[in-house]
Symmetry: C2
Subunit: 205 residues, 2 copies
C-alpha cells in the first residue's frame, strides 16, 4: 500500500509536513554550493529544512542517495541545456557544436558542485544505475550531434573519436575553470574564446 502514486492535488503534495524529500534535496544543493560535497553534512541539510536529523532516513537510504538524486537531475539539466543550445544554433553546424560546448561550461559554472558530483570520482555514486543511465544518455546525445556534423560536412575520420576529442577539451576547460586553476597562470581568461578557437581545429584537423 505505498500511497506515493496518487498524491492529493497536483505535483508536490505529500503527507504531513509537505514534500520533505524535495526540501532536503533543495537544502543539500544549497549547502553544496556553499561548502562543496566534501564538507556537506546531512545534519545541516536537516537544520535548513527544519526537521530532525533522523527524518531523512524515511526518504533516503543514505547520505549518498541524496547526492545520487542530485547528480541524476544534473544530467537531465545538462541534456536540456545542450538541446536548447543546439536548437537555437542549428543542428549539425559548427556554431551548434560550439554552442553545446559553451552550454557545457556554462552548466559547470552555474552548478559547480553538481557538475563535480556528476563527473568527479565517486565509485559508489557512479554505480547507481539511474545516474549511470542518465550520464550515458547525455553523452550519447553529444556524440550523435557531432556525428551529424561530420556526415553533413563530409569530414573524414571517425566521428566518435572527434566527439571524444571535443568533449575532452571542453571538460578540461570546465574543470580548470570551476577549480580556479586558470587563476594561477591566466587570471581573467576568456574561456568562451578559448573554446571558439579550439573547436574548429579539433573538428577538421
Amino acid at each position: 500500500m505505498t500511497a506515493n502514486e496518487t498524491p492529493k492535488s497536483g505535483t508536490k503534495t505529500r503527507y504531513h509536513h509537505g514534500d520533505l524529500r524535495q526540501a532536503l534535496i533543495a537544502a543539500t544543493r544549497e549547502l553544496l554550493v556553499e561548502r562543496g560535497a566534501a564538507n556537506f553534512t546531512l545534519a545541516d541539510a536537516c537544520r535548513l529544512a527544519g526537521v530532525s536529523t533522523a527524518a531523512p532516513y524515511k526518504h533516503f537510504r543514505d547520505r549518498l542517495e541524496v547526492l545520487e538524486e542530485i547528480a541524476e537531475q544534473g544530467f537531465n539539466d545538462l541534456r536540456e541545456r545542450s538541446g536548447a543550445a543546439i536548437a537555437t544554433s542549428g543542428p549539425g553546424t559548427l556554431e551548434g557544436i560550439i554552442a553545446m560546448g559553451q552550454a557545457y561550461v556554462a552548466f559547470a559554472v552555474a552548478e559547480p558542485a553538481v557538475f563535480r558530483l556528476m563527473f568527479g570520482q565517486n565509485p559508489a555514486l557512479k554505480k547507481a544505475k539511474d545516474v549511470s543511465d542518465s550520464g550515458h544518455a547525455c553523452f550519447a546525445g553529444v556524440i550523435d550531434q557531432v556525428a551529424l556534423f561530420c556526415s553533413q560536412n563530409a569530414v573524414q575520420g571517425d566521428a566518435k573519436a572527434i566527439a571524444l576529442t571535443l568533449w575532452t577539451f571542453v571538460h578540461g576547460a570546465a574543470c580548470l575553470l570551476i577549480d580556479d586553476d586558470y587563476q594561477q597562470v591566466a587570471p581573467g581568461l576568456d574561456v568562451e574564446a578559448l573554446i571558439r578557437t579550439a573547436a574548429p581545429k579539433l573538428l577538421v584537423g
Copy 2:
C-alpha cells in the same frame, strides 16, 4: 630552542619514535589511493602508523595540513616528470610537447588521489602558500616550453594562449580518465593516441 634544525644523523632521524611526520604522510597517501580524499580519515592513518589519534597534532596543524604537504610534493613530482619527458624527447619539439602531455596524464593515472588534491576544488588547500607557489612554478615550466616551440617553429599566434589550450585538453583527458567517465561512452579508449592526434591540431591551427 626548537631542536629541529640539527637532527642526529643524516636525513630523517627525529626524536623518539622515528619520523612520524613522514610516516603519517605515507600512511595518508596509501589511504588516499584506496578510498579517495573524501573518505580518508586521519584516525585510520594513525592506525596505519601505529600511533594514537592525537599524535598527528604534534606535527600538523590540521587534517588539512597533511593534504597540503602531499599536494606540494605532487607538484614537485609532476615537474620532475615533465622535465624528464622534455629532456628525453627534445626541448621545443612537437614530440617533446606531446611527451609532456603524456607525462601529465601518466602522473594523474599513477597518483589519481594526489592529482585531485592538486587540481580539485579545495579552497582551504589552494590558499596555502606553499601549494600555490609549487603549482605556479609547475605551470610556468609548461608554458615556457610551449613558448620555446612556438619561437623555434615560427608559429604565429600567442604562445601562452596555445599553451593554455594544450593544458586544457590534456587536463580534460586526465580527469575523464581517472574519474572513469570515458568508460561510459568509450570503454578501453586509447588516451595516448587521443593526445597524439589532438596536440598537433591545437599547436598549429
